[in-house]
Amino acid sequence: MADTFHASPSACPACVAAPAAAALAERAAPKEARLMLSLPTAHCALCMTTVEQGLAKLPGVHDARVNLTLKRVAVAADPDVTAEDLIGALDRLGYEAHELDPGALGATATDKAGREYLMRLGVAGFAMMNIMLLSVAVWSGAEGATRELFQWISAAIALPTVVFSAQPFFRNALAALRAGRLGMDVPISLAILLATALSLYETAVGGGHTYFDAAVALTFFLLAGRYLDHRTRAVARSAAEELAALEVPRATKLVDGAEAVVPIAELGLGDLVRVRPGARLPADGVVIEGASELDRSLLTGESLPVWTGPGAPVSAGEVNLTGPLTVRVTAAGRDSSLHRMAELVAVAESARNRYTSLADRAARIYAPGVHILAFATFLVWLWLSAGNLHLALNIGVAVLIITCPCALGLAVPAVVTAASGRLFRQGLLIKDGTALERMAEVDTVVFDKTGTLTLGAPEPVDLASHTAADVALAAALAASSSHPLARALAAAAAAAGVAPAAVEELHELPGYGVEGWHQGRRVRLGRADWVGVQPLAMTATYLDRGQGAPEPFAFIDHLRPGAAEAVAGLKAQGLAIRLISGDGAAAVAELAGRLGIADWTAGALPAEKAAAVAELARQGRRVLMVGDGLNDTAALTAAHVSVSPASALDAARVASDIVLLGQDLAPIAVATGVARKAVRRIKENFGVSALYNLVAVPLAMIGIATPLMAALAMSASSITVSLNALRLR
């Protein structure tokens, strides 16, 4: 790694060799590019074939392989093939795709911990089956030397298995004991160790019951639960990590007129920063040079771009749209508005950690209960049998083995795996294990507007109401700009089959619009005050034809697909719906009316959003927050459970429990239903394992439990619990 690092040429001569730039240049110039894309809508064999063959046909692509389980495609291609090319090609094939960070992927592709669990599980399974075979012979009446031989062979298999496979439990139990707690792992470890030790003693003296099969079966079933639990989390974590944009936190700093790429953390007060169109502002500051428009939607929820010029204050996180800006930094790092937002999140985060999952609550009752029960049984039998330590110990251990939480260990992970698998197929990624439980308790849903209920991408309304000549002229002007409104207009005109008119001497005035000459007249497309009209109350751009009054082109931010279904579905489940947006009242009212949301707030600042959510929580409501912007981040964290779309800003996705992988919002309504069902299943599972214990424990306590009964109770309850969980799929 170090060699290639030094050998790599810097991407641009002007770049001072900052580590980030060098690393980027190195990443950008491998012999073969390995690209990774997320495919949230791929679900069948046909999708796989279409995507693989479609991508393989592209020039420069060597190989494409779809992973249907993770809904990803790995592409090997020439270094000049970019993710944008592939995303465009997939879009034409009808598949939505997002780029994933290959660096983050390298760390998660081989899930080492998961593989370790599987290996231990495999060994435990092998040992369990072999010991079970031998045990069946003993249970069905093998006597004398045969019985002894079988017990010795069982011991020979069980001992190494327990040492190898049960290690995770021993480690966790040790850690729990050191911290002075009694987790689930302490009774588990104790049961496994005591069962093995007692059985070994019985084998050595000969004649008694051995529990080798129970010790190993216990390990196997509990490992299965742990593995499921781990896999749910690992899949969610890796996908969420990889969804993070390939956005390196860098800024272009001006040092004596030369540009240097530096990490944002190294920016100081008074530094000059160059911000190109399309880039995000790295720090708070004041514009020194240049004019442009800023997209503040992620920060404040405003859907209209805001004009900026020399002297205007700007905040970190805003996106520069049209012209290059030079900004003097007034607050960086700790003091910037971005960081203040992060602090809001931290405060809200600490409030959330208080949630105790159902499994924890069960463990809290269970762990001391089991120990007291087993110890009491031991003492009572010691007293009854007038000091027969061997007998008392035997019965005490039998109680410990029979109560051991096989089914309890599977009860939650099996259900969560089934439920998150089902939601994943719908395009929802559960990031947090307890998110489903919290989701089931929700009674109020708070939506953000821009980028959540709407797509955050404006589209021209009613092009047909303009004359074809106007549209052709506007399209010609719009085509030369990268402003989102202009791009949307040009795309819509092209889609309507309008050929752009001939316009000469096109040039863009950053922050104002585009100007050119058409049939001897000066024509303009841009801001209202620039073309000389009063602005309309809605998002619009204005066309000055050089004659007559300028013509407005109005835009509308389209509803996200499934938004109406999601709102209707949540309402049908009896949940209260609120809309809290940072956007202007007119836009919010219009959208609320369209979706039938009666309770809406406009112009809310980030802190006000979080406060509104916290206020709802104080009233005893359980809030589901759905949002995508930086301004929603604090509210997302303050909420009982939160959802953000994949297009959301990194910080918002990190703060939320559930990520929507596709464009569609409708799965949210499905998710609340599935969550409630999942919690019902978990509680049923607790009931089932309690029921088995209720039958088996008294038998163990009066001393008539046999290893066969322990094995039956353990397997039967584990299988019942798993089957019950599968009903969710």
Binding site: M48, N67, L68, T69, M119, G122, F126, M129, N130, L133
Partner: protein
């Protein structure tokens, strides 16, 4: 009962082979995409030249 002297080692060895095979598939990344593999097997593309 001397037959047990053969049968028990045989059963253990057979089981051990199974375990070894499992560990091999595990290390060969064969559980990375169960759903994709289930679909892939139905495709005729690789019938002649299997692809890893």
């Amino acid at each position: 009962m001397t037959v047990l002297a053969y049968l028990i080692p045989i059963s253990l060895i057979l089981g051990g082979i199974g375990l070894g095979a499992f560990l091999w598939t595990l290390n060969a990344n064969q559980y990375d995409d169960p759903q994709g593999n289930a679909s892939r097997i139905l495709r005729p593309d690789y019938d002649e030249h299997p692809k890893s």
